[in-house]
Structures are given as structure tokens and as C-alpha cells.
Amino acid sequence: MINKILVANRGEIAVRIIRACREMGIGTVAVYSEADSLALHTQLADEAVCIGPAKSNDSYLNMENIISATVITGADAIHPGFGFLSENHKFAKLCEKCNITFIGPPSDVIKSMGNKTQARNTMINAGVNVIPGWNEPINSVEEGKEIAKKVGYPVIIKAALGGGGKGMRVANNEEEFEAAFNTAKKEAKASFNDDSMYMEHFIENPRHVEFQILADSYGNVVHLGERDCSIQRNHQKFIEEGPCVKLTDDLRNRMGEAAVRAAKAANYVGAGTIEFLVENDKDFYFMEMNTRIQVEHPVTEWITGIDLIKAQIRIASGEKLSIEQKDVKITGHSIECRINAENPSKGFRTSPGKITDLYLPGGKGIRIDTSIYSGYEVPPYYDSMIAKLIVHAKTRNEAIRKMKSALGEIIIQGIDTNVDYLYEIISSMETN
């Protein structure tokens, strides 16, 4: 049984996890950097430990200090949230060594799913469709060109350890290949200090659909339906919704089954996400598995009624899944918008600073996950996401209108945000 959890994160997700613990009667330890002594998570937790200077490398990525904080406060588990150390297999391994429960999958699963080549092989063996491509590192331009012919142009060249759009380039034909390959390789080396590259067929204008799964330590796996995350800027999601209205029931079932198969093949434990690319709303391919809770998890929580953070904690405590696939019912439609401290008219430049005035909407079917408050100073050192607005309604169009209305109510003064930008995009999604 878990008595006390150290939350190795900051911002709204740290608050979200602390809230779940408060409800479950579990003690909480927040960790914070010198820049976050007044952050909401620091103040809301039962205990708080400063783990270093503002820079993430010295604080939220400082494994040594986080482990020490856990041992000192007597916490028996760590929830890593998302980002930071959440998918760091070395960190998970350390927790295992120190007899700390890492709320997430075992370190070797994180490791194998984190290496895209290895993840792909696992999926092929499990009979899950993967994008036509090459799952061996490509060493030279010549070799790459040969493989590209087999895979079929356009091709996308990616870093084996890639993410966030870094180390990724598209080549439409053989002429473009060399430049694309070299740029991607260079970027990969700079970003991940590893330039093993692989390649796949590039699906133009794909739909990005991901399935939430839950797996316990006894081999039981269920999926909780899908989220459509096709609206992205620079390969970064910022509006997510569920369910995906373009999926037929048949396709949804097949994808759900594939997701469960994928999770089983990976020996997965905990909450995870299988990302698929859907081509022409009929074929789907495994893209990657995220071995953590995701930013957009509230969408699934709302359409299934399942609290994913609590589920993570229960699974980590060794509990069996209390539901089977047939118990999972999708109700209504949910949309999430990510509110960032940034200025869309100035190239999305981040906008840290003091929030002088704040008004947040509420009401039926409106949820806000945030860590800001009036007088809070948004520090310049971390991700610019300051809040998530999630709505739930019977139909998609109703949800869009609810989102539009809620966005229209938000007042955040003192810093620039993307609220108006989101308002425009949501408005354009409205039909009839």
C-alpha cells in the first residue's frame, strides 16, 4: 500500500496528482526549484522539498536530489507526471534500486518503448500494423536512398531517439533525400547526442489518433477509447478531443484491439498511450507508445468516467483492474485546449511574468486544470503551458460551443496567452 507519494513534477499536472492523493487519503510531497517556491503545487502538498536552482537540469531533472528527497521524507512512491523524468528509464531503474515505487511501467518497458526501432520490432512481432519503413539504423545517404525506393516516396527520416519534431525531415523524392537526411542527422546529434536514424513512408495529412490503455501487473489490459490529436502546431498538440468522430465502430474496435495487443506485447503496466496514424480514415499504423500519463488525459477521464491518476496509483499499489473491456462505456464528447503563456502574434514567443488579474470560467461540463492564481508569477524556465480547459457535452458540436463560450470568458491579465488564438480555431470548427 502506498502511504505517501512524492510528485516529481510541477505546474498543473503536479497539482492534479496532489489532488488525487488528497482524495485518496495519501500523503503528498512536492518538490520544487528555487523559482517555484510560491508555485501552487509547492503550497498545496503536505510537504515540500526544494531540489535545486531554477534550471530544469539542476532541479526537476536532478535525479540524485529527487531520490534523496524521497528517502528523507519517507515517501514510498514517486509520480513523475509527464515530461521531465517521466520516460527516463534510468530514473525508473534507480527508483527500483532504492525500493521506491515508480508510478509508471517497469524501467525495461520504458527503455524498450523509448527506443523507436525496438518498439517497432515489438509491434511487428505482435501483429500490429506499422508504417512501411526500415527499422534498422541507416548509416549512409546511399544506403538510405536504396531503402527509400523500397519504402516509397515521400519518406520521413527520423531520429531513433527523436521526439517533438526534432531530428525529423521529409523527402518527397530522391533529389531531396541527401539534404533531408543530413539535416535530420545533424539535428538528432545535437538534440539527443545519438544520430542513429530510421526512415518510413510518409503519410501526408494523417489523422493522429491515440488509444488510452490501462494495464495491471497481472496481465489484464483494457483500452479506454481514443483521442484525436490531429490539431498540432510544429508537431506539438494543442487541441485534443475524444472520441474521434471519423472512426467507424468497426475501425475503432480494430484499433482498440490492436492497442491492447500492443500493450500486452510490451509487457506494459500502468496507464499508457498507443499512438496511431490513420490514413484516409481507414488504415491505421502504430506510431509510438507513450509510457506515461499524458497532458490530454482529462478527455478520456470525461468520456469514460475513470480517474486515470487514481487508476495509476491503484495499479502501482498492486491492485487488480476492477473493470473489463465490456465495462468501458464512452459517453458524449470531450475537448481539451492547452492554454499557453505565449504570444501568437509574435511567433508564439513565450510570455512569462506576473498574472495581475485572473478570471476562470466554470459551470456544467467545464473543467480547468491549472496551477496559476491571481498574483502568481509565471517563471521563464519551463514549458509555457499554464492551464488546460476541458469541456464535456453530449455531442461534438455542443462541446465545441461550450469550449467557445468558456474560452470567451477567460481573463488572464499581466501576460500574453494563446486564448484568443484558441477561440478563433474553436470557432472555425463549429458546424451549421
Binding site: Q43, D46, M63, V71, G74, A75, D76, K97, S374, Y376
Partner: protein
């Protein structure tokens, strides 16, 4: 707003019943940045702190693994009996308990190994063993290793890390300093290479013996290197020592080490140095080098102006443009390093050479650090040190001359500028290895000649070479430095005039506006000259080369 006290907390009486704990040895504290770090990560990372990049002392075994080809190390001379000449109480017990604890034979591990294709003799100190102090066994093992290397003509590499002589063995320890130094002298006299690598700390009797006797002395960054320990000095003189005193960087600045090499780059650097010392001159061919017998410009003053242009390529451009694998060696081993003269070893079309260049800067800041290309006495002393090193290893020497003159200042006189120049003329005249000098810009007086007592002297078309500047000439003879233009006309300082006087041997033509954009044009012709010179000299005995050099200047 402080919300902390306003929130209602869970108020759990969470007894610390948790069974979490950090296993013994998982974490350690960096003694430099004080951060908690994972012991395994430090070991995997060459004993470098992942947080502050500070260096931990590295066990001999790990050190060897980090620099040699896997599986090639063969240990030598283990199990020599400890001497206890002072019958120091408990000494033998201490040694045997250390042997058990560290798994080491003694404070130094010796043996042969390969670095790349180079077989070498290694001696690696390990600070865990009585601070790697040098007693009889350490001195004996190092000496035997050197003697064997002398016999087998192997390069010796010693990684020093030591508190100095071993107090427990008294005067016998002191004698190890003489013994190891003597063995190195024999090794050196046979023309063998010794690379000394200084690591933290290298002090006392080790600094005052084998550690400072390398043909090439490298050091790890920020290592403490000195004779007397800093605490002893402070107590003796009653003053606080400045920050950085006795650190590698301090020694580099003061001319005692050739280069500071990061641990990650140590193997590559050693391999490069060993390669350059192993490979023989490559197949060189004679080249056509009769480019010009006079200059295109006819007004000497115009040439003087061009030779001083700020956009003219400088010494470092010739080094990087004409040579590969250049490794810079710093310092005169007496006082200081002079950045107005850059020297080191490199390959020219695969042939090992020593290259030394007088260097102006590429911009004002660079020029200030290089003292506008005006060398100090320690610059000339570095140059002659590198030339003698070249002679020892039969490497031809290529010099690039470009200086307004030797630096004229207080310190330069105090340190013997005249003596330094004279010494270079004296020593260069008889070096038994080929010397080629190329005047690339200003060949200012004795300061230029100190790097031009060569077998062949070439000039770039728009360079000058003279007894002193035309301004100086006019001021001395005509009491008016404004007559410099006239002086240039009578001084015979341009390449065409000097070729007629047989002061130089050839002219390398230049494009109209010689600068970085058309550098390759000149570099190509220059490489023809160098290759032709190296090819011709390789056919002549080195003693004959020195004799011909004598005759060349005898005729002047």
C-alpha cells in the same frame, strides 16, 4: 500570495514506515561541486563529475583501459619486495593492508600496451596507494620500465599522480628521483620519446624528477602541479596564494607544460603524438619551384605597405592551411608561453615536421593577445626548444617569419631578448635536421633572423626582410623618420633585391590583393616549395645539412 497556510492539508500522521532507502554506494558526493552524483555514472564517465565536470582521481586499471587498445596491456615487475630502510614502525603492515584493499601491487603499475598501432611502455600512478608517493618499489618499477623501453626502443608514457617522495623510506626515496631521472636520460639519449602526463596532484619529488622530464608534457585540466605544496608555501611566506596557483592552466601560462588535454581526448591526443613520432617521411617528389625572380611591384615602399596589411594571412593560417594533425606545444620550460610564436608538430603531406610560426593576430583582440607578432625572449626560447626536439626525432623544421621585430620592452630586456636571439642563431646553425624558413610578411631584423638561420629562406613576393624598419633606418642615418619611403628604396629589403644578393633562395608570387579569399593560390605554391625542400633534404645526410647551413652563412 502565501497560500500555504490557508490550504487545509490532509494532516496524515504518516509515520515514516517507508522502506525506501538509497543502497550503499549508489550515490556519492562530488568533492568539487558538492552535488550528489551516482557512483556508477562517474565510473562510466572516466571519473568525471557529470554535474561540474570536475575530475576525480582515477584508479590505474581504469586509466589504462581508457587509453590503450583493449586487451593489449601486459603488466611488468609485480611483487618487488618493499624496502624499509628506516625500519619505520608499521610500514610493512600498512603496505600489505593497502595491497589487499586496493588490489594494487604498489602505487605504480607498469607494463606495455598498444595505443593505436603504437607499442608503448606505460607507468601509471594510483593515488589510492599512499598518495602514490615514490619509495624504492615505485622508483624501481619505473626505472625498470624505462630501461626496458630503452632496450626495445619504445616510447614511454608516465601518468604522474603523486604526493612526492615517500617519507617512510627517507633518503632511499630521495635517491629514486635521481635513479628515475638517470634512466630517462639514457632513454632520451638513444632518441626515444617520453610523454609525461601530469594529473592531480603531481607534487614534490615526483615533479622534481621524472614528471617534468618529458619530451612532451601534457596535463589534465585543473590538476595541482608544483614542487612545494601550497600549504607549505603559504606558511613559509605568510601570504595567501592567488586562485589558480599551481594548477595546470597556471603552469601552461608559465611555460612548463606543452598542452592541457581533457580526459575524454587523452587517448586520441596520445595516439596522434605517437603516430607522428612513428611514421617516416612519406613519398615526396621534387617539384618545379622557379616561380619568379623579381617582384611585380617596383616601388619598395609600396611593398612595405602591402607586407603590413591587416588582411594578410597570418602564421596560424599557414599552419592550418598547409599541415594536418597539428598539435600545438606551448612554453619555453623556463618562464612563460609566448603566443606571438605558435609551434608544434604536424604532418605535411604525410611527413612528420615541426612547424613554428611567428603570428600576428587576425583582429585587434587577437593581435593584442599575440603582441602584434612581436615575440618575447620566452617565444624564441620556445622556438629553439621545439627545434631541438625536432632534431632529436629527425623531423625537418618549417618556420614562418612575420614580425615587425622582437618585442622592445622592459620585460624583454630583463629576460634577455638579446641573449635569446643570439642563442637561436647559435643553436640553429648546427641543428642536424633540415630547416626551411619562409618570410610571409615583415621580416623585421634580429627578431626575424632568430627563426631564419635556415638551409633555404624563401619570401612571399610582397614581404620584406631587413636590418630594421625603413622608419628606423631613416631616423638613425638621416635623423628624420619621415624619410622612410626613401630609406625603403636604398635598403634592399624586397624579395627581388634579396634574391640577387643571395640572402634568400626563392620568391613565391602573390596575387594582386593577397588575403584569405585567394589564400589557396599562394598556399599551393608554398606547398610545392616545402615538398621540394623536404624531398631534396631527405636525400642528404643530416650532418652534411648542418655543414651546408654553416657554409651558407659563412659566405655572407
Amino acid at each position: 500570495m502565501k497560500l500555504d497556510m490557508m490550504f487545509k492539508k490532509n494532516n496524515l500522521n504518516s509515520s515514516n514506515s517507508s522502506s525506501t532507502e538509497v543502497p550503499e554506494g549508489l550515490l556519492k558526493k562530488c568533492n568539487k561541486c558538492k552535488a550528489a552524483i551516482f557512483a556508477d555514472e562517474v565510473k562510466e564517465n572516466l571519473y568525471i563529475c557529470p554535474k561540474c565536470h570536475g575530475y576525480f582521481r582515477i584508479p590505474a586499471k581504469r586509466r589504462i583501459a581508457s587509453i590503450v587498445e583493449q586487451g593489449t596491456f601486459e603488466s611488468l615487475d609485480e611483487g618487488i619486495k618493499t624496502s624499509n630502510p628506516l625500519e619505520y614502525k608499521g610500514y610493512e603492515d600498512k603496505i600489505s593492508s593497502l595491497r589487499e584493499k586496493t588490489g594494487l601491487d604498489e602505487a605504480v603499475t607498469t607494463g606495455t600496451a598498444y595505443i593505436g598501432a603504437n607499442k608503448v611502455m606505460l607507468a601509471i600512478c594510483d593515488g589510492r596507494f599512499l598518495m602514490a608517493s615514490m619509495g624504492y618499489v615505485v622508483g624501481e618499477k619505473i626505472t625498470r620500465a624505462i630501461e626496458m623501453a630503452t632496450k626495445e626502443r619504445l616510447p614511454v608514457i608516465i601518468f604522474a599522480c603523486s604526493g612526492g617522495a615517500r617519507m617512510q623510506e627517507g633518503i632511499v626515496s630521495l635517491m629514486q628521483m635521481a635513479k628515475t631521472s638517470a634512466a630517462l636520460k639514457r632513454h632520451s639519449d638513444e632518441g626515444n620519446l617520453f610523454i609525461s602526463v601530469l594529473t592531480d596532484p603531481t607534487t614534490g619529488g615526483v615533479t622534481a624528477s621524472f614528471a617534468m622530464l618529458g619530451d612532451i608534457i601534457l596535463a589534465e585540466p585543473n590538476a595541482l602541479i608544483g614542487f612545494a605544496g601550497p600549504r607549505v608555501i603559504e606558511q613559509t611566506i605568510g601570504e595567501k596564494l592567488p586562485k589558480g596557483f599551481q594548477r595546470s592552466e597556471f603552469l601552461l601560462e608559465h611555460g612548463f607544460i606543452d598542452a592541457i588535454v581533457a580526459r575524454e581526448e587523452m587517448k586520441d591526443t596520445l595516439k596522434k603524438i605517437l603516430d607522428i613520432h612513428r611514421i617516416k617521411s612519406n613519398n615526396l617528389c621534387e617539384k618545379e619551384t622557379k616561380f619568379a625572380s623579381k617582384t611585380k611591384k617596383s616601388v619598395p615602399w609600396d611593398i612595405v605597405q602591402i607586407s603590413r596589411r591587416k588582411d594578410r594571412p597570418v602564421g596560424t593560417d599557414y599552419i592550418s592551411g598547409l599541415f594536418s594533425e597539428f598539435i600545438e606545444f606551448h612554453g619555453d620550460r623556463y618562464y612563460k608561453d609566448d603566443s606571438a610564436i605558435v609551434g608544434g608538430i604536424a604532418l605535411f603531406n604525410g611527413t612528420p615536421v615541426t612547424v613554428i610560426a611567428q603570428c600576428k593576430g587576425k583582429n585587434t583582440k587577437d593581435n593584442i593577445s599575440k603582441n602584434f607578432g612581436m615575440p618575447s625572449p620566452y617565444g624564441y626560447r620556445k622556438a629553439i626548444r621545439l627545434m631541438k626536439q625536432a632534431e632529436k626525432f629527425n623531423r625537418p623544421i618549417i618556420c614562418f617569419v612575420d614580425t615587425p621585430g622582437a618585442f622592445c620592452g622592459l620585460e624583454a630586456e630583463e629576460l634577455g631578448q638579446g641573449e635569446a636571439i643570439a642563442r637561436n642563431l647559435f643553436e640553429m646553425s648546427s641543428l642536424k635536421t633540415p630547416i626551411l624558413s619562409v618570410v610571409t610578411g615583415e621580416g623585421g631584423s634580429g627578431g626575424a633572423l632568430a627563426m631564419a638561420v635556415a638551409d633555404e629562406v624563401w619570401m612571399l613576393e610582397n614581404s620584406v626582410y631587413s636590418i630594421l624598419s625603413p622608419e628606423g633606418f631613416a631616423a638613425i642615418l638621416w635623423k628624420d623618420k619621415d624619410l622612410a619611403k626613401e630609406a625603403a628604396k636604398v635598403m634592399k629589403m624586397t624579395a627581388g633585391e634579396l634574391l640577387s644578393l643571395k640572402v634568400i633562395d626563392g620568391i613565391i608570387p602573390e596575387p594582386e590583393q593577397f588575403n584569405d579569399t585567394n589564400f589557396n593560390e599562394v598556399a599551393f605554391k608554398m606547398s610545392q616549395v616545402i615538398e621540394n625542400f623536404l624531398c631534396k633534404s631527405s636525400k642528404i645526410d643530416n650532418i652534411e645539412i648542418a655543414n651546408r647551413r654553416y657554409e651558407r652563412f659563412r659566405k655572407m
